[in-house]
């Protein structure tokens, strides 16, 4: 195991007493507790960690934070594996296994580098112009193998995830100096504060950069501040927590990483509702753009500084620093103090000494004023850098110098991290002064920016401003109060962090196809030139053609440079171009954290019939019907589902069966105005209802289309029972409530849904009465006393019951309603009746076949959103009704009166082939592409003939016509026949 020559023997904030062993690409390495995967790899001199997305160029660690565009690695193997984890964010843990995501045979020697050598073929948008001949499918499998980054895990996720809800007055995002100061001030003002920090501990940069705050060391300040936060009564701190989305009305989503291996959710998603939001999200350093600016060994200057000071890792043996602003000087100084050879600082500004507040000579490092990197060399990693002296106008290079080096620390300025601000509707504006997208006016009075996110960098001012901003926000109510502003501070003369002045950051010379703008998606300046040349002028279009800024890093180190280049190419100012939209999530979020516990069995709610176990014992095959688990058939022995359904229909038609209809929608409507109210919903005139007579009813939408069917029965003038289709039980209840509350609130009614409270069993078949008569009951079951379409209320075997005589199967049926809590008792009583033959349980397959034979409508199957009552033979009933009802006016619109509308008919297949629902039908003399379609189909229950229902153009005039039936290229024939197919007099039902 190598410790590597890049680990500096002293310094850093790591715990060197605890060695941590890990593997990368199956090779063993070691690091220390406190390392990230990236710092440990760098410390072990592992320079090539990835191959670039398109050209397969070798890449190394580029940054030290969330903006990492190169070092995206696969962690773990098997079901826990996760792709594209940024090595800079992975806490090093014992036994960690990381793998590169590209490179064959290995990340160090990749055959696909050939794409780099043939780069002009793979310019932006090449796939829109290629893979066309002879057909895309020839190329598809190869492209799929080569595209993408990382692999999906190969097993069900064994970890668990959680979702939790939080409320607070002030949410502070960011636990550095600014965030902590804001948290203390808000908490001190009495607000309920939530402070979130993405790293495992508070402090941010001040934990390692050696700064002084208010005259003492930052570490001392930090200890005091963290203790103060702990003492405040209502301040909650979440670490390892990233704020990923800012939505309307103060809703913010956070993802917290569990401590890997501990007994905890792997990730927790928090949905926070906050009154005020303070963004202490810092700033992200931007690179410089020049030829071959992507080699391993080139990294951001601020990152190089963090690696040295925090992780005691040198980015290389000989480091050159290149910058256009002041902040990289601290990097050079810290590298030198740690014993690393610093070749020099190339500063693209002509006279940087005027900007800095220190004497350059005291640094002891040569400064090359007016120089910018223009090229680099090194096939497998950085070996040399060429810098060029910029001409007066910055458009050409006057002289060059070349240096051998293995690391180049670049700084192109700092961009405040304002994604959450923008997601919440805040506007961003490009600043010529800093080359950054900064906050324009803050949209609401509830969002504040502090620290370098607000452009404030001098640390004492950060503390003061953050405290004042937070106190002001916490003290105000949402609708009033001071607006926390964006950029506040004029340019400063300072060494660390501040951007005093801003030089050129794009090299003016060299092949633009070798100047990278977006490292993750391998987008170069030449791609941007191509886009503009092809007239994709808006930033949104250039983004989508070139895919710049669309990768997993969402352009954190490329958006602003892309903007500047497009502006330069179009001859505009960047500020005039606008910018692409920021959308959640800020950093990648796993599906696991969003799904949390709602997976597998818990994905959707399941509703079980009250006697579910009883059905299961009898071999029920269950299927989901709108959350209800319902039997479609009951299998005996080696029966197939179709055989079971056929046996069940024979049993019912011959003797008796029982069907569980408990999901049937049931609603009670009470009140003096109940009749007037209900009459507004149905095409049927309910004013002629007699007590305990059941009316089959149909309900429409205001467009005239059939919404639902069911029954209405009057128990008393102020008490009605309504039934609906099973699937619409909730929707009809909501419909009644909506019209009552919104349109007719003056009507005195109460609407009480009772679907779940009553179980429903349909005892069906010619022997149904004989069976029911064996119950001890107070209901006279004779046909004269209890005819079809009536309701009787009484008891059966001591159980209170409401018994309907209605039939969907066409057989003599008693639909028995008992309280759900008594359902099993009733079922046991029914099945213990010791007469022959047995009562056959039958499921939906059998029921739907029987109802089809009778030509009974099945709403939603035989009707769609355009079907009006006349289409299914109920036009006369609707036309007769004098009172207003929902949809009445639409029924006389010309469209609904057309003579050639689709009408419901019966079909008998002319071949011994099942009809397929969805098949189109055509009339023999047709000129149209289609004359309708088959809506449902079955086999006749007694003769087995294939039959169906269809909607046919002017169908009622076409009795006897032979149609062609078209099903996915196959053609068969059927004849239009009269309905019903079976028992046309209804004698069986009315027995």
């Amino acid at each position: 195991m190598r410790r590597g020559p890049f680990r500096i023997p002293a310094g850093g904030t790591l715990d060197r007493s605890r060695t941590v062993r890990f593997k990368f690409d199956a090779r063993p390495y070691s690091g220390f507790a406190g390392d990230t995967l990236a710092s440990a790899l760098l410390g072990n001199a592992v320079r090539r960690v990835a191959r670039s997305f398109k050209y397969h160029r070798p890449r190394g660690v580029f940054s030290s934070g969330i903006e990492e565009p190169n070092a995206l690695l696969q962690l773990h193997r098997g079901a826990r594996s996760i792709a594209s984890e940024r090595a800079t964010m992975v806490e090093l843990k014992e036994g960690l296994e990381a793998y590169p995501q590209s490179g064959w045979p290995s990340v160090r020697w990749d055959a696909a580098r050939v794409f780099d050598l043939t780069a002009p073929l793979w310019a932006a948008g090449f796939y829109n112009k290629a893979f066309i001949w002879p057909s895309w499918h020839v190329y598809e499998s190869l492209v799929r193998r080569m595209a993408g980054l990382g692999r999906a895990p190969d097993g069900a996720d064994p970890d668990y995830y959680d979702v939790r809800n939080l409320h607070c007055d002030v949410l502070v995002v960011g636990g550095g100096v600014a965030g902590i100061s804001a948290g203390i001030a808000a908490g001190g003002a009495g607000a309920r504060v939530l402070l979130v920090e993405q790293q495992s501990a508070l402090g941010g940069q001040c934990a390692w950069d050696g700064a002084a705050i208010a005259g003492r060391s930052a570490l001392s300040w930090l200890d005091t501040a963290v203790e103060r936060l702990r003492q405040l009564p209502d301040v909650k701190v979440l670490t390892r927590t990233m704020a990923v989305g800012h939505y309307d009305h103060g809703v913010v989503s956070l993802v917290q990483r569990g401590d890997d291996g501990a007994e905890a959710p792997r990730e927790t998603l928090y949905v926070v509702r906050t009154g005020k939001l303070i963004l202490a999200t810092g700033a992200i350093e931007q690179p410089l753009v020049f030829c071959n600016n992507d080699r391993p060994g080139i990294m951001l200057a601020g990152a190089a500084r963090e690696y040295v000071r925090r992780y005691a890792v040198a980015p290389g043996r000989q480091v050159l620093v290149a910058t256009n602003n002041n902040s990289a000087y601290a990097t050079a100084r810290d590298l030198k103090d740690a014993g690393v050879e610093v070749i020099g600082i190339a500063d693209s500004r002509a006279d940087p000494s005027a900007e800095l507040d220190l004497d350059l000579r005291s640094l002891g490092i040569p400064v090359f004023s007016g120089f910018i990197p223009i090229d680099t060399a090194g096939f497998g990693g950085l070996r040399a850098v060429t810098i060029g002296k910029l001409s007066q106008d910055g458009l050409a290079v006057a002289s060059r110098k070349e240096f051998a080096c293995d690391a180049l620390a670049v700084s192109g300025g700092w961009n405040p991290t304002l994604h959450l601000h923008s997601q919440g509707g805040g506007n961003l504006v490009y600043s010529e002064l800093t080359g950054a997208l900064e906050a324009a006016a803050v949209r609401s009075t509830t969002v504040g920016l502090v620290g370098s996110a607000a452009g404030i960098n001098r640390i004492d001012e950060v503390v003061r401003h953050a405290g004042a901003t937070a106190a002001a926000l916490a003290a105000t109510t949402a609708s009033t109060g001071a607006v926390a502003t964006g950029l506040q501070e004029p340019a400063q003369k300072t060494l660390t962090g501040a951007v005093a002045s801003f030089g050129l950051r794009i090299s003016p010379v060299g092949n633009t196809a070798r100047k990278w703008v977006d490292l993750l998606h391998d987008v170069t300046v030449a791609d941007l030139e191509l886009a503009v040349r092809e007239n994709f002028v808006s930033v949104e279009h250039v983004k989508r053609l070139t895919t710049a800024g669309m990768a997993a890093d969402q352009g954190k180190t490329s958006t602003v440079l892309t903007l500047e280049n497009i502006a330069r190419l179009r001859g505009l100012r960047p500020a005039d171009l606008g910018h692409t939209t920021f959308r959640p999530p800020f950093t990648p979020v796993t599906l696991g954290s969003i799904a949390a516990g709602d997976v597998g069995e818990y994905f959707a709610p399941r509703r079980h019939l009250p006697t579910h176990a009883w059905h299961a014992q009898r071999g029920a095959v269950f299927q989901d019907f709108g959350e209800w688990l319902r039997p479609v058939a009951y299998l005996r022995g080696a029966e197939s589902r179709a055989q079971a359904a056929t046996r069940e229909t024979h049993a019912v038609r011959a003797a008796a069966g029982v069907f569980d209809g408990s999901p049937l929608g049931k609603i009670e409507v009470h009140g003096p105005d109940a009749l007037e109210f209900l009459n507004k919903f149905y095409i049927n005139d309910l004013s002629t209802l007699k007590p305990q007579r059941v009316r089959y009813v149909m309900m429409l939408r205001e467009s005239g289309a059939i919404f639902d069917d069911g029954t209405v029965v009057m128990l008393a003038p102020d008490h009605f029972l309504v039934t609906t289709t099973s699937g619409q039980a909730a929707r009809v209840t909501e419909w009644l409530e909506e019209w009552h509350q919104c349109e007719w609130p003056q009507l005195n009614v109460a609407i009480v849904p009772i679907t779940d409270q009553w179980a429903t069993f349909s005892l069906t078949g010619p022997r149904a009465r004989e069976i029911l008569a064996t119950f001890e009951t107070n209901i006279d079951l004779s046909n004269s006393a209890f005819p079809h379409s009536c309701l009787r209320v009484g008891h059966l075997a001591g159980i209170a019951a409401r018994v309907y005589r209605v039939s969907f199967s066409g057989e003599l049926t008693y639909e028995i309603n008992v309280a759900s809590t008594h359902a099993q008792t009733f079922m046991d009583a029914l099945m213990s009746i010791g007469i022959c033959p047995e009562i056959a349980p039958f499921g939906l397959d059998a029921l739907l076949a029987m109802r089809l034979e009778k030509g009974f409508l099945h709403i939603g199957t035989d009707t769609d959103g355009t079907t009006v009552p006349d289409d299914v033979g109920w036009g006369a009933v609707a036309a007769r009704k004098q009172q207003d009802f929902i949809g009445r006016r639409s029924l006389v619109l010309p469209e609904n009166l057309r003579a050639d509308r689709l009408q419901m008919v019966g079909l008998a297949s002319l071949k011994d082939e099942d009809l397929q629902p969805g098949s189109h039908v055509r009339l023999p003399d047709s000129v149209e592409a289609t004359d309708g379609w088959v809506t449902s189909a079955a086999r006749g229950t007694l003769d087995g003939r294939p039959i169906g229902l269809a909607m046919l153009r002017a169908g009622r005039r076409r009795l006897g016509t032979e149609l062609s039936v078209h099903d996915m290229g196959r053609v068969t024939a059927a004849r239009v026949v009269a309905l019903p197919f079976f028992d046309s007099t209804g004698a069986r039902m009315n027995a």
């Binding site: 009305h249 103060g250 467009s703 509350q741 919104c742």
Partner: protein, 91 residues
């Protein structure tokens, strides 16, 4: 996700509610012509700015109410009971 103040229950998450289209739409009588009835069925205002709309607290108290929302910013200015008159706001 919006946060909506139900007039009966107070501030709740958007997922507890169902959107119910525009508010204060008068239902015409049977005698109107086809064009007027079709307008009532299908034609809606789509303002960029203040919108008066109906909502139902479907997974809460079940009450219908009206509110005024800015369609550009999602700011909700006012929620009021179904039987209140339409407020006079500068749109």
């Amino acid at each position: 996700m919006l946060r909506i103040a139900c007039p009966y229950c107070g501030l709740r998450d958007e997922v507890e509610f169902r959107f119910g289209g525009p508010a204060h739409v008068a239902r015409p009588g049977f005698e109107v012509d086809d064009a007027t009835w079709a307008d009532y069925l299908f034609v809606r205002e789509n303002p960029a700015g203040l919108n008066f709309e109906r909502w139902c607290h479907a997974y809460g108290c079940g009450s219908w109410f009206n509110l005024v929302r800015n369609t550009l910013t999602h700011e909700i200015l006012l929620a009021y009971r179904m039987d209140s008159p339409k407020p006079a706001l500068r749109t």
